[in-house]
Subunit: 431 residues, 3 copies
Amino acid sequence: MKFIKSKSWLALSLLSLAGTASAAETAVPEISVLLNTFFFLFCGVLVMFMAAGFTMLEAGMVRSKSVAIILTKNISLYSVAGIMFYLVGYELMYGDVVSGFIGNFSIWSADDTGLLAKTSSDAYAASSDWFFQMVFVATAASVVSGALAERSRFWPFLIFTVVLTGVMYPIVGHWTWGGGWLTQLGFSDFAGSTIVHSVGGWAALVGIVLLGARKGRFDENGNAITIPPSSLPHVTLGTFVLWMGWCGFNGGSQLAFSSLNDAVSVSNIFVNTNAAAAGGVVATLFASQLLYGRLDLPLVLNGALAGLVSITAEPSIPSVGMAMVIGGVGGLIMMTATSLLERLRLDDVVGAVPVHLAAGIWGTLAVALVNPEVTFVAQLTGVVAVGIFTCTFSAIVWYLLKVLRGIRLHQDHEELGADLSEVGLRAYNID
Amino acid sequence: MKFIKSKSWLALSLLSLAGTASAAETAVPEISVLLNTFFFLFCGVLVMFMAAGFTMLEAGMVRSKSVAIILTKNISLYSVAGIMFYLVGYELMYGDVVSGFIGNFSIWSADDTGLLAKTSSDAYAASSDWFFQMVFVATAASVVSGALAERSRFWPFLIFTVVLTGVMYPIVGHWTWGGGWLTQLGFSDFAGSTIVHSVGGWAALVGIVLLGARKGRFDENGNAITIPPSSLPHVTLGTFVLWMGWCGFNGGSQLAFSSLNDAVSVSNIFVNTNAAAAGGVVATLFASQLLYGRLDLPLVLNGALAGLVSITAEPSIPSVGMAMVIGGVGGLIMMTATSLLERLRLDDVVGAVPVHLAAGIWGTLAVALVNPEVTFVAQLTGVVAVGIFTCTFSAIVWYLLKVLRGIRLHQDHEELGADLSEVGLRAYNID
Amino acid sequence: MKFIKSKSWLALSLLSLAGTASAAETAVPEISVLLNTFFFLFCGVLVMFMAAGFTMLEAGMVRSKSVAIILTKNISLYSVAGIMFYLVGYELMYGDVVSGFIGNFSIWSADDTGLLAKTSSDAYAASSDWFFQMVFVATAASVVSGALAERSRFWPFLIFTVVLTGVMYPIVGHWTWGGGWLTQLGFSDFAGSTIVHSVGGWAALVGIVLLGARKGRFDENGNAITIPPSSLPHVTLGTFVLWMGWCGFNGGSQLAFSSLNDAVSVSNIFVNTNAAAAGGVVATLFASQLLYGRLDLPLVLNGALAGLVSITAEPSIPSVGMAMVIGGVGGLIMMTATSLLERLRLDDVVGAVPVHLAAGIWGTLAVALVNPEVTFVAQLTGVVAVGIFTCTFSAIVWYLLKVLRGIRLHQDHEELGADLSEVGLRAYNID
């Protein structure tokens, strides 16, 4: 998903705008535009639906007293992401390059022709690209909400989302997909193991450190106490939705579907994306049985997601077998990180940090294993730079919110559950 | 989605039917057919899945004693809609024009070539169009079921659905998308704020007036009593599914994907549809917090849907910012209509009338604000004419059903819940 | 979905691999590849999501003490199917023909060009085909898990899945879609009523015979006792997801979208697939009301699925009305088979055998009614041959697993529920 948006459009006015063209010379570029645009819309819809996947996953993982509020957070953050990316984010990410670090501050709008061109033969409707980019930023924001569930306050979280989707993610995006300094350095992150998932993961990590654990998550000696999820079917449904959506997430990051090369690459991406998730499932399934003597379903579901995050930085080049290995290792790294968080007494309700940050780092570094043109140093530089930036920025925002408004629920409300204290309804009323 | 079906097909037999053509002159129209057809199928599948969205939304909004019956209603109405639109509806809507008010009564079948042509360069497979049109009529029927939930009887409701999908919706459709008198008057409703959503909304309104409120919905003084929804995760999932499906609903109403103009227009539609829903969410979120001091999740979800209904009449022309405003205003109108219904002691279980009728009227009138070629008078005429027709027709059908069979559950069955009295199973059996 | 994979690729190197071609002669085949590939990916994603549909359906049908384990089984079997079809299955199914009975044993990999060609004008990306074929094998495996729910052990089931997806299904597939002896005999099964659904159904039937019924499913006199499903909304959601996915399942089995004939055929398939499901719903709805005096929702949902299975062997040729009849009859056959299983004291938790096997046989035989080129004898031969092979093979595998490891849960664990005994978590924790 790396390209520099060119402001000098194709001379597309030469093409017939109505119906079909009669001469092959003009018809072929027109068909490219149609296929590229259709493909963006198809993949964009799949990624859009990932918002539902995150929502169901998070709603299933929290206790039943905190379900309505997490539903409210998810539909709100998706809406806010779309608004902020329109008002600020897109141009900040893809606008004219200012020394490779930041774009411009302006509201997005399509050109008069409504078309956007990467190269003279490879254009698409500008709005289809915007739609696809917008659902990506929503994904980054979705990562955060689950980690902080059950004890963060609604409006401070939403303000954090405003900053994340309007400024923080777009700046990282500008460094990379916007053609900025990390791209110039040779950093490669095809669909966003770092740019999307680690950004969300770092922001979540800083949040859970500042927020503290839910009451009852650790006993007096600091031992973790399992808090049973309210609905495992919803967690599983959410995982399957994310798995499906990831085909669009990684596949659409090819950014074109107008050449044989595109067709082959995108198809390989679909297969590898699926293979990495399958690898993550099987690795965590065996590990869970061997280490814990049981089939830890939430861990296995996170194994699928960790596999998906791991392959996101380079889903096109690996063989299918290699994709399974990358996903499997990602699953095991996620398990390790889950244990580590517990030992550090950090409370990540859905495992967002192990899945999106730990596996995201692994996936980003693993690019150097499969793509000879990419160096480990460049990848590590990207991981570290994005980590430092996102942590610092997040810490400042979370800290300001904490001082100015408070970011944690009043302890009575936490005990009662935010569903009753903030939404005024219980999520389930089953007689 | 406005076009007049031409019975004089293209001389498509000139085109090679097997594989690909060798000369560019014939290849290009063939590719148009392929892209138009593929696009119809893609959007049709998205709209088809809206049936699942309505189902989950309604199942989550009712009490747990009325869940199985609403599930049964929804899968049945979707099936009946498909059968009736095949047997009667499609030809009544798009068949040969009889003075602009009604089509012909015959069973639908594709032509020998299986192709349908709007213009000589813009054809598609006839069945792909039928599929897309059919899922629209199912949407109109879905609107009704939720409003009448928990106290309407199953079979009378299904008979009403037969009439709605076989006759009532197709007649309104003939006046408009079939090229009838409203279209000739200048009425414009791109994807059906009035034609689909208000038709469902009016039919629902007449139904809830004739049925009366659920027992316990209003106290002796007529004050509304909140009946808590059985499952907010299902309501939220349903809303996200509808949101996704709406991309196909509005985008597919472009009815073609074979020119640069189509690609740009459809992409703008996807972006604006999303923007209107986001506007609806944010507007109702703020309003709910300010007016009621809480985050009223069902209202916020209906805010998303009201935003979607509002933009449906014209999703292509507005700027993204304008789409957000149209959606936001739609959300506030929905809130107002919700309060109004309560004051009138009308019991709309899912808020179908505020969402689909109130926001549908607003969206239809708003076309005159953004499209200089459309007059407010033409839009108002369409709203009023469709309203009078649908209300009258619905009232007659509901009244006949009431007299002949009864439309309301026996009060013992209502108290027990139709799940036990009609389905013989409880929807949830969770130990 | 019948074709013989040719190892002699097209001389596709003649085509420009980058961007678009300048001469119409090369451009046209390139566009065919793009459309075929895009269509495979679109349909493949729909079928992939059927895994979520099966999961929700099964999770809703079992008791709440067996939900987490069925979720674990489903995500695991989908993962295993993908791995096994890569390691063994695909080449065994589509590899070089060894006397029409079996392919070769090797790991799948795409050719250097990444393209696969059926004919010189009809190629597509090899991975897109692999992806589409893989989600089919996962479907066959999904059929089995539901039937055996609540008393089968996890790891033996997973080993059975390894064999089913790696060997059993691919051998049947080789006989048919791989160009083997059944195809040479004139057997026709467009999208897999027999090849996918009956294979899963036979394997499930053998499994439930060997496993025995759940405790409490039949009383001392052998009368069936209804075990209420844990969540009918989840069963309904699963059914809708399968319904949607089936459009891709049947439509994608056209295996191309590059000619007018493809566009017309695929569109007819979408319409007929929907019509058959609608027919199944309406037939079982009436039959349930007339025979049992109630609206038996699980039966109606299985009516939809039986309709879908019935039309799968030939979704392209029948008229829409005929498709409704085929689906409706399929629904009634499913009802009959459901009663029969109960009388035989066989416990099929989700009705997989009535839906996938009984309706699958009907659908396969019904091809002879609508396609004059297909004989009843050829169809019956296929049904019987696949039945004998799958039953024998399944019986051997299940029997070995029973002897070596045991396939049934310890009775204490069955009583407690596998969620606590194998997963260590309850699926629902709703206060």
